[in-house]
């Protein structure tokens, strides 16, 4: 924490010389060695370190991949395959980078849910949270840009859908769309600018990560009790070796999962269509983004109705961006003074509901919105016919024999007739997505503001070191 005295003492002459000119070793020492850290951080708190590793892995593999990649529409697809076939260990680099994107998002979601649960966004850590949201936004942009680069079918058509969203913005939409693509449609120029920006954004992320860590080290870590550090001696331990070893252990566990995907199922998190070279003339049957963007995709598609002058398409875009924008407002939406949900019995229920809603939104995003989840009744058959006199009619049947007999009858009369399916009403993915979208926004805009005023929290411990002793509290502490 900023309040604590630096314990760094330069030993060698060179260290003393450097310390009086650029105290960088002192900075590192105070930030990562002697930084007082609450002693009760659980494994959910190791994901910050895991994310730092993810970023490093992506940047390092990405730099090497860029040495071999060709960003032109004619060669991009083959150059990615060439990396995997002819570059020594190129297959490893490429799979680590591709799986790494998924792992990065997996970790960031856990990290964000942890922040939501333990109230890490509340005073005095609002700026820390805001910077985290900026990183998340940059990550999504980077992932989206990167997905374009292999120039597969999903790359092209996914990008088409996302860029098309900007077209929904009134007045400037069309111009903005053209500006982003660098032309009237996605082409070579788009691929090249996406590559350029995909290389740039990770370094911007790295920059914001530094600010994020700085903003963390001013107020110090939150912790599972949400109670601030009161006594540095009793409540904290130095970051090194206590948390370097604990984070290190968690990082290696994470890497085991990471490696299992890379070595045994490197393509399972992606979409097979992306191994078909991009073809603007053939649109895939189902365009879906990568799994980590599916909940937002579900929110986008859940809006199928106009409100006043705002079209459904624009409204969908507003809701999708709103679902991320609302995270920025969170520190001022949650009115509760109690940080940790451990001591908020009602809010906790809603929190787990929110986690479930987010996951189910992912399921909706992956599914065809019109597919039924719970069918209400059976599909029927309808025979539509037009008689010779030009009179239209429709008859509905449950069984095929009856429908076919009726059709033959009408055909024999000289009418035209055809059978089609009359879908039974059902509870469909679109309905589930709409309910979940409503809950997503209600959680931030209604539940958290309201609960903070009405909920009676459980008693928080007076200090971290008291909570740590937990059930052993009866035993004399010293």
């Amino acid at each position: 924490m900023s309040g604590h005295e630096s314990t760094y003492t330069p030993k060698t002459g060179f260290e003393k010389w450097l310390d009086s000119r650029l105290p960088i070793v002192r900075l590192a020492h105070d930030s990562f060695v002697d930084f007082p850290t609450p002693k009760n951080l659980n494994y959910w708190y190791t994901f910050g370190g895991i994310l730092a590793i993810c970023l490093a892995i992506q940047i390092i593999t990405g730099i090497v991949l860029a040495m071999h990649y060709t960003a032109t529409v004619d060669e991009a697809f083959a150059s990615v395959e060439r990396i995997m076939r002819d570059v020594p260990y190129g297959w490893l680099l490429r799979y680590v980078h591709a799986v790494g994107a998924s792992m990065f998002f997996l970790a960031v979601y856990v990290h964000m849910f942890r922040g939501l649960y333990y109230g890490s966004y509340k005073a005095p850590r609002e700026v820390l949270w805001l910077l985290g949201c900026v990183i998340f936004l940059l990550m999504m942009a980077t992932a989206f840009l990167g997905y374009m680069l292999p120039w597969g079918q999903m790359s092209l058509h996914g990008a088409n859908v996302i860029i098309g969203l900007f077209g929904a913005i009134p007045l400037i939409g069309e111009g903005l769309q053209t500006w982003l693509m660098g032309g009237p449609s996605i082409g070579n120029q788009t691929l090249q600018r996406f590559f350029s920006l995909h290389y740039l954004l990770p370094f911007m992320i790295a920059g914001v990560v530094i600010l994020h860590i700085w903003a963390l080290h001013v107020p110090g870590n939150n912790n599972p009790t949400g109670v601030e550090v009161k006594d540095v001696e009793k409540d904290t331990v130095p970051f090194h070796p206590y948390y370097t070893v604990k984070d290190g252990f968690a990082i290696v566990l994470f890497l085991i999962i990471f490696a299992a995907f890379v070595f045994y199922a490197p393509n399972v998190l992606g979409h097979a269509d992306n191994y078909i070279e991009a073809n603007p003339l053939v649109t895939p049957a189902h365009i879906v983004p990568e799994w980590y963007l599916l909940p937002f995709y579900a929110i986008l598609r859940a809006i199928t109705f106009d409100i006043g002058p705002i079209s459904a398409k624009l409204l969908g875009v507003i809701f999708m961006f709103g679902s991320i924008a609302v995270l920025f407002a969170l520190p001022w939406l949650d009115t509760s003074k109690v940080k940790s949900m451990r001591y908020r019995p009602v809010a906790k229920q809603f929190f787990f509901g929110f986690v479930a809603a987010a996951l189910l939104l992912g399921w909706c995003g992956a599914s065809n919105p019109d597919d039924p989840i719970i069918p209400l009744g059976d599909d029927k058959l309808q025979v539509a016919y037009t008689t010779e006199a030009g009179i239209d009619g429709v008859a509905v049947f449950a069984g095929y024999e009856d429908a076919a007999a009726f059709r033959s009858e009408k055909l024999a009369e000289g009418a035209t007739a055809s059978i089609s399916i009359k879908k039974a009403p059902a509870f469909r993915f679109i309905h589930l997505a709409q309910i979940l979208t409503a809950y997503y926004f209600a959680y931030f805009l209604i539940i958290l503001p309201y609960l903070g005023l009405r909920e009676t929290p459980k008693d928080e411990p007076d200090a971290i070191h008291k909570s740590v002793l937990g059930s052993a509290a009866a035993v004399p502490a010293e």
Partner: protein, 313 residues
């Protein structure tokens, strides 16, 4: 609370496994009865089968399908079907040289007069493509474009081990038999082919459009040609490629009997190798890497226990 957590974890796993892929209208491809030798964490290719598969590709598939991402030398590289330890440089492998030499390709570099000449391929050349461009391929195939097969096994399925090979195998061996094709005549006296379905709820007739072939494993929609209950349209689709693997279509050099099943297995295995030639190398690196990580995790765990032993937390 515990229940809630379990529920959330379960839903998480569900959401992850269900990503993408709405079930298309095709039958689910399946592996051959014996399974695939390359599947599983310790899977290895049955190299004799991959070699036979190359023969099937060369003698059957390659007359329409290109494999632009493959070069002859790949066949003789470590992990390839014709790798020979005597020739660490695949370009020297006589078998590979022979395969290359048998194909005539248009040279990419001009001769001394500036003309492009046909010449026998060298191991470093890419596989000969049957057509100079997509237009020529379409013109020769009734408007349909035979897809490049280089990464076809990665471009089908859900990315699980063997998905793509299952698809190739099921499609090639899954055409209805010739005896199942029935012949009808429409009101103008024009003949047409059709299939009779009488399987549970799939009852009716499926007309096979001219120049198209029905296959239950092909992704597509046959409803426009289905005379029967539209709620129970047969699975599958039409494709412009008819059944190619007739018994004895190739004569295997190793004497294996060339049944449809055998050729489908072999060519699927060859394409599985071709789609990701480093997959065996990948899997053989997996175990050492994981063992290393597990040992490291163990050491860190004990260090963690020791360092924290005096701190209540």
């Amino acid at each position: 609370m515990k229940l809630y957590r379990l529920l959330s974890a379960g839903l998480g796993a569900l959401a992850l496994t269900l990503t993408a892929h709405a079930a298309g209208g095709a039958k689910h491809p399946h592996p051959p009865k014996e399974g695939w030798s390359f599947a599983g964490p310790l899977g290895q290719f049955d190299m004799a089968s991959v070699q036979r598969g190359y023969q099937v590709y060369r003698e059957v598939c390659s007359s329409c399908h290109s494999m632009k991402l493959l070069s002859y030398r790949n066949l003789g590289e470590p992990g390839g079907p014709f790798y020979d330890a005597m020739y660490p440089n695949a370009n020297d492998n006589p078998l590979v040289k022979q395969f290359a030499m048998e194909d005539e390709i248009l040279s990419e570099t001009p001769d001394e007069y500036g003309d492009y000449q046909y010449r026998p391929a060298r191991p470093s050349d890419a596989f000969r493509s049957p057509y100079p461009n997509e237009e020529a391929a379409r013109a020769a195939n009734g408007g349909a474009y035979p897809p490049d097969l280089s990464v076809i096994t990665k471009a089908r399925g859900h990315g699980a081990d063997g998905d793509g090979a299952n698809y190739v195998y099921s499609l090639l061996s899954g055409y209805p038999g010739f005896d199942e094709i029935l012949f009808g005549e429409d009101e103008n006296g024009e003949p047409y082919d059709y299939f009779e379905f009488d399987d549970g709820e799939e009852q009716g007739q499926l007309i096979q459009p001219i120049g198209q072939y029905y296959n239950p494993y092909m992704a597509g929609d046959v409803s426009a040609y289905w005379d029967g209950d539209p709620r129970h349209t047969p699975k599958g689709g039409f494709l412009a490629m008819g059944p190619q693997l007739m018994p004895g279509r190739v004569e295997y050099m190793d004497g294996t009997e060339a049944t449809v099943e055998q050729m489908a297995i072999d060519v699927a295995q060859f394409l599985q190798w071709a789609g990701d030639p480093k997959q065996v190398q990948r899997k053989s690196l997996a175990l050492p890497a994981l063992i290393y990580l597990v040992i490291l995790a163990g050491l860190l765990w004990f260090s963690y226990q020791r360092i924290w032993r005096k701190v209540g937390h």
